[in-house]
Symmetry: C2
DNA sequence: GTCGTTGCTGGTAGCGCTGTCAACGATCCT
DNA sequence: AGGATCGTTGACAGCGCTACCAGCAACGAC
């Protein structure tokens, strides 16, 4: 065919328009807003585009329209299983849209986040997904000034920049502790790693629950800034045990730590749950098949990602959600690692007096 | 200041050039190839850019230069831990370059891969990272016709499209089996999930090793197309055991399966390694802290990603590597789950006759 | 019959940057 | 001294697309 082309052999919009017998601008409209065309031209352009194998040039589109079709995503870690689930949700939900995902890793640094945010915003993204609610003042200002929709994910809190999807880590931790209370546990240890804001809020939830029960003891808490791992779980548990041999259970800020604790118990011949109960957080897949199976707090990570992307895309296209804050909740999945032998039969007094060494203000139940 | 700007208030290259007292093209060169400028102009442009807070418009650059600074990455899964490590390597290595990563998930479908490849190539990426060596004929043709560097990752094989970084899954599996042989095991089961090409080649390695030893038996192999999980490991092992109660060890095509097998052994009170030895694949973090610790084949996933990105960027910038194929190797990490009590003391005959039911050609050791 | 109004279409004029090529002076070599 | 070479700089002309606005026909209201 004698149709003229760029030297690179690429098919341009002009070629499609020519073949369809319309003006380039009409062809352009076909790709952006087909409803605006008459049915006749629509089908003509469509078949011309298919025949030529036309693929729009996104750079030209971005330049001419002064906006991109890129959704920026800022997450703190690529290693953490939690974020791979979230990411999968984001990618799945954006897959059949016109938007592409631009991912960046803040490595749990809010300064790095600020830097990346500046970079992203300069390219005028169509939308932004950021992790958490703890941005720097500067970041916060940039986000508020941004002229694109923004979703904060992973947790919910007051004053959303725009939209927000997550759950309360505080409440989730509290619920986990309530479950341990219900199972008769009193001397509950806490182990946490990395101590990013969300882990910190889980700790806060634990502290609140323990204080409410008059069982708070600072010495039950072992944390580190080190990134989490199964091995670390074992090590932290060893530390906790060395300091407080009298604990009857451990709440782990995530499942890797919980698995590490389970292995450490096995190593020391500590019976789970008879001597020590274990509760994790996130409910990763392996929690259901370990021996004993491990209790955990299920979080809706995939949904968090997919809902965030879906909501963002809707907002980009002008259909803002009724309610900008979406609480995806959590569920305490009770498994063997925290089930005492005695069947739960309503509230009852523990069979042994908790060895409370509590020097803080509490409201006894 | 009375400097003219776009309505959006954005600073353009022209403004920077004006302030620096040079032509726009000189300013442009400053950002792409500073060495080409005289020191005087270089510093003038630099300070002008800083003063105005200039950020280049990538869309305009892409349109004018007919190429992008995007590295396309095609991976088969976002869930698999293996790929999150590879991805981390890729992102880390590209972080301080001018290139940005565009990620897409093929979901282990080579047809989906082909579709995505077409999409990517249409945008003229600066480079491409694709997973594996099993592309469709069409994909292969597109890759070969692409005018950008390409790295195939995760495994090595004959006929690289361009560059290649990985290791031999076949050899790695073979080495794992050799280790089990050395520990006195003979009746070695294989369990595998998903059965993507790389898992298939691990199976091939297992088969070759078993045949070489005259120990091959089809009934020792249990596989499924289902995606891998810890739970699945337990289930597959249960199947294997039901069919072949006489096995003395299991080689798992990945670590999740191995962990599942370990838990299933615990559930059934099977002593590991005394009754059943377990070997996994990839050496994920938890393998070193389970009880017993789990033997695995360590693969250099992070390095695979970072080396691929680094090599690709070098190639984009014209510095092609001497050797286009890089074998990152593997290491069998011998841990408790496969160590027999008797210390390894050179080659020795097994203490019991292997129940070989072998109908294939073999070369006995 | 005139004047909107609506629905569709096209022309013009860039978006901000870089490829290409030419020009220039300075330096080097024969 | 003349020419060649190098390093540095700038003018010009788009890259492929879309915003903006104008035009046109068809229709209905008054």
């Amino acid at each position: 065919m004698g149709r003229k082309r760029t030297k690179s052999g690429k098919i341009r919009l002009a070629e499609v328009a020519e073949l369809a017998g319309v003006s380039p601008i009409t062809a352009s409209r076909f790709f952006r807003n087909p409803e605006a065309l008459s049915v006749a031209k629509r089908t003509r352009v469509e078949s011309a585009a298919r025949e030529l194998g036309y693929v729009p040039n996104l750079a030209a589109r971005a330049l001419a329209s002064q906006r991109t079709e890129v959704i920026g995503v800022l997450i703190p870690s690529l290693t953490n299983n939690v974020f791979s689930d979230v990411l999968r949700g984001i990618y799945d939900a954006s897959e059949n849209s016109r938007y592409s995902i631009q991912l960046s890793n803040t490595r749990y640094s809010i300064l790095q986040e600020e830097k990346l945010l500046r970079l992203f915003l300069a390219q005028k993204p169509a939308g932004l997904i950021v992790t958490g609610i703890d941005q720097t003042t500067e970041s916060r200002a940039m986000l508020e000034a941004a002229d694109c929709p923004i979703v904060q994910i992973m947790e919910i809190g007051p004053n959303p920049v725009d939209m927000m999807i997550g759950f309360s880590h505080f409440d989730a931790a509290r619920a986990a502790i309530a479950h341990l209370f219900a199972q008769g546990h009193r001397r509950i240890g806490f182990i946490g790693a990395r101590m990013d804001p969300r882990v910190q809020r889980r700790l806060d939830g634990y502290v609140a629950a323990m204080k409410d029960a008059g069982l708070f003891d600072q010495r039950l808490i072992v944390t580190t800034a080190t990134p989490t791992s199964v091995t670390l779980g074992g090590a932290l548990f060893a530390d906790l045990l060395a300091r407080e041999p009298g604990i009857d259970s451990v709440f782990c800020a995530n499942d890797d730590l919980a698995l590490g604790v389970l292995f450490e118990c096995r190593r020391r011949d500590i019976a789970v749950p008879e001597q020590i109960a274990i509760v994790g957080f996130n409910d990763l897949e392996f929690m259901a098949s370990s021996v004993p199976t491990l209790t955990s707090v299920r979080t809706n990570r995939y949904e968090m990602g997919s809902a965030a992307a879906a909501m963002l895309i809707e907002a980009i296209e002008g259909k803002r959600p009724e309610e900008p804050v979406l609480d995806l909740g959590f569920t305490v999945i009770e498994r063997q690692s925290s089930q005492t032998q005695r069947p739960a039969a309503g509230p009852r007094t523990p069979e042994w007096a908790p060895a409370v060494q509590n020097d803080s203000v509490t409201n006894d139940p």
